[in-house]
Symmetry: C2
Subunit: 374 residues, 2 copies
């Protein structure tokens, strides 16, 4: 089977690039003396997890309970739901632990910790909580110096629940000006979460896990001292935004959407493909960068940028409008011809598809089912 013969739009993952990306990050973590916990919110397929998992660690992160349930059913025992839990989700968490005994979740409030402790007591289930630390991203998490960290640990310690560790996400690395800036945020991330772990240990609590990460900080991190694991996801598939901020090269991007040319408008210098906002996602991450890639960069079916700087400049639900040099290569891209489109933000793009085609060049080597939804 070849990408020329499939139904479009479809998500295609270059197997060789994906495997190299995974091996490189495992090696990077090994060189830092720390384990890698791949975040499978990027590629929600067990076959992807089997390649991405660090043999020295064994665990994964996820961002929905349905992802956790899927990977637990596939036999993965160490699953971190890297989102703050709420009381209503605790019965699902408890059920998850029957299959994945090392399932754990984030929390960042006394209210959630009280609910966890109460549920653990009532149901006699050893729920595992990671206290989320805000190391500068200011999304969720407590400041490393916040005393609620100790009070949460005390609440857990007085119940059958346990403290799995402390965890942070240096998402603000996405806005760093350069790789030195990213390295500085990686250090902030490390120091923040290690400070929280130290304070807990000084107060007498055991802190098994110290978790930090994002793709940019993992790539540019210079020291992992005090961390037990790095958490990252996008690196495995790669995308234009990460390429734009120097996490990898454009040639490392394993992810793409295969599309078919459906309309020509030479008078407007426009080519339209059958991949629009649903198949590509409306993520516009690269609009923040010097080189705005619209909704994606168009390559040939082998994944080579054979058309130069050809981008999807506009999308409707199922239409993508291609723009670039004037005139566009209408002769090389007749109606019915095929292209690949490298995405801005692979997590959003991959999530829109219900399977991944695994490819070597334009050859389809396999098809991976995946999980989606909540």
């Amino acid at each position: 089977m070849n990408l020329a013969d499939i139904a479009t739009p479809a998500f295609a993952l270059d197997q060789g690039k994906f495997q190299r990306n995974c091996a490189r990050m495992i090696e990077k973590c090994r060189s830092l003396g720390v384990g890698l916990r791949p975040h499978m919110k990027t590629l929600k397929a067990i076959e992807a997890a089997r390649v991405a998992i660090d043999p020295a660690h064994g665990g994964i992160a996820v961002s929905t309970l349905r992802e956790a349930e899927y990977f637990a059913a596939e036999g993965i025992e160490d699953i971190q739901y890297a989102i703050c839990i709420t009381p209503d989700k605790l019965p699902r968490a408890a059920r998850l632990m029957r299959k994945a005994p090392r399932f754990g979740f984030f929390l960042d409030s006394l209210d959630a910790a009280e609910a966890v402790a109460a549920f653990a007591k009532a149901e006699q289930v050893p729920l595992r909580a990671w206290i989320e630390i805000d190391s500068g991203d200011h999304r969720t998490g407590l400041e490393p110096s916040d005393d609620r960290i100790l009070r949460i640990a005390a609440l857990l310690a007085a119940s059958p629940a346990m403290l799995a560790g402390v965890a942070t996400h240096g998402g603000h690395s996405y806005g760093a000006p350069d790789t030195d800036g990213i390295a500085a945020i990686a250090e902030e991330e490390r120091l923040g979460v290690v400070e929280a772990a130290d304070r807990l240990r000084q107060a007498g609590f055991e802190v098994p896990g110290v978790s930090a990460g994002s793709t940019p900080t993992a790539v540019h991190m210079r020291s992992a001292e005090g961390l037990t694991e790095i958490r990252a996801g996008v690196y495995m598939a790669g995308d234009l935004f990460q390429a734009g901020i120097g996490s990898h090269g454009v040639e490392d991007i394993a992810a793409s959407v295969v599309a078919t040319v459906i309309s020509h408008k030479p008078e407007r210098n426009q080519i339209v493909v059958d991949a629009g906002g649903l198949a590509l996602s409306k993520d516009r991450a690269t609009s923040a960068l010097a080189d705005d890639m619209g909704y994606g960069l168009v390559t040939d079916l082998e994944g080579s940028p054979a058309f130069g700087r050809l981008i999807v400049a506009g999308v409707h639900q199922e239409h993508g409008e291609i723009q670039g040099e004037d005139p566009l290569p209408f002769d090389r891209l007749p109606i019915g011809s095929r292209v690949r489109i490298l995405p801005n933000h692979v997590c959003m793009t991959a999530a829109a598809h219900d399977r991944y085609l695994v490819t070597a060049g334009s050859e389809v080597r396999g098809e991976w089912d995946k999980v989606g939804g909540w």
Copy 2:
């Protein structure tokens, strides 16, 4: 079952508002003396189609072949794939006609018409093609005065394929300054597609269908003379963008995402919910309007704007950051509490979910399965 008890995030559709929206558009079309072909790309469920279908017309539009296959399997015979066809999709189109004998597709080029005519001859199948007309949206379609329209009709006439009609989409109505501007675009849309039909008829071709539409032009259209049908979709569920341009009121929005509060940051005046860029979509349509609604407007579980102008100002994959008055209503929105979020663009938001909860206030009356993907 109540929305307070479901797993979040989830897509919830207010049944009463949905039914009223559908009835109102059917009545509008009846008053214009034209049939309504609801575009089911907005709500991809057979239960939604059964309410939306105009008894005086009977057909629907879709934007993927998988949607067409799903609705055909459910017994709908008149299905318009409102996207330009390509040669590779013709075998699927031919298979579709076995279940949906009035299945048809768009095309806007001689190349596609030649492929359709050749396939129809080779397989002896009466493929049904709508010639797409560009009435000002400049996405796909031929100008009404383009002579290729006649040449396409001639190609089809010389084969077992047939001309189903001419069709246009006045998508540029989304950028009109006011309702008079939208009414003017509705007239452009009508005149463009009627001109194409007239030219074809003068040349001796039969033109059974003359199709135009978008939600704004359908709402504000003053004459449908010469049209056989109006095509629209968003009106049935409603969204903040359509409310912003006057297609309906905010109180008519039937679509919402139910979310749970997962984190509080009083020091940053921020509340975080478990609905992010995947559950809401990253569509930012309202950013073009005077009143930018971020990624959605927060209401209570009944769907009332009980918190004033509270919006989702930022999203990550599974996090939504709520902003509004300072201080936010932290006491009324404790961790674990529930809100509904009205979407910017319902088609994008609904597509991200694998089912729709059908509600009356906060009560869940049912759950509709739906189709997705390609």
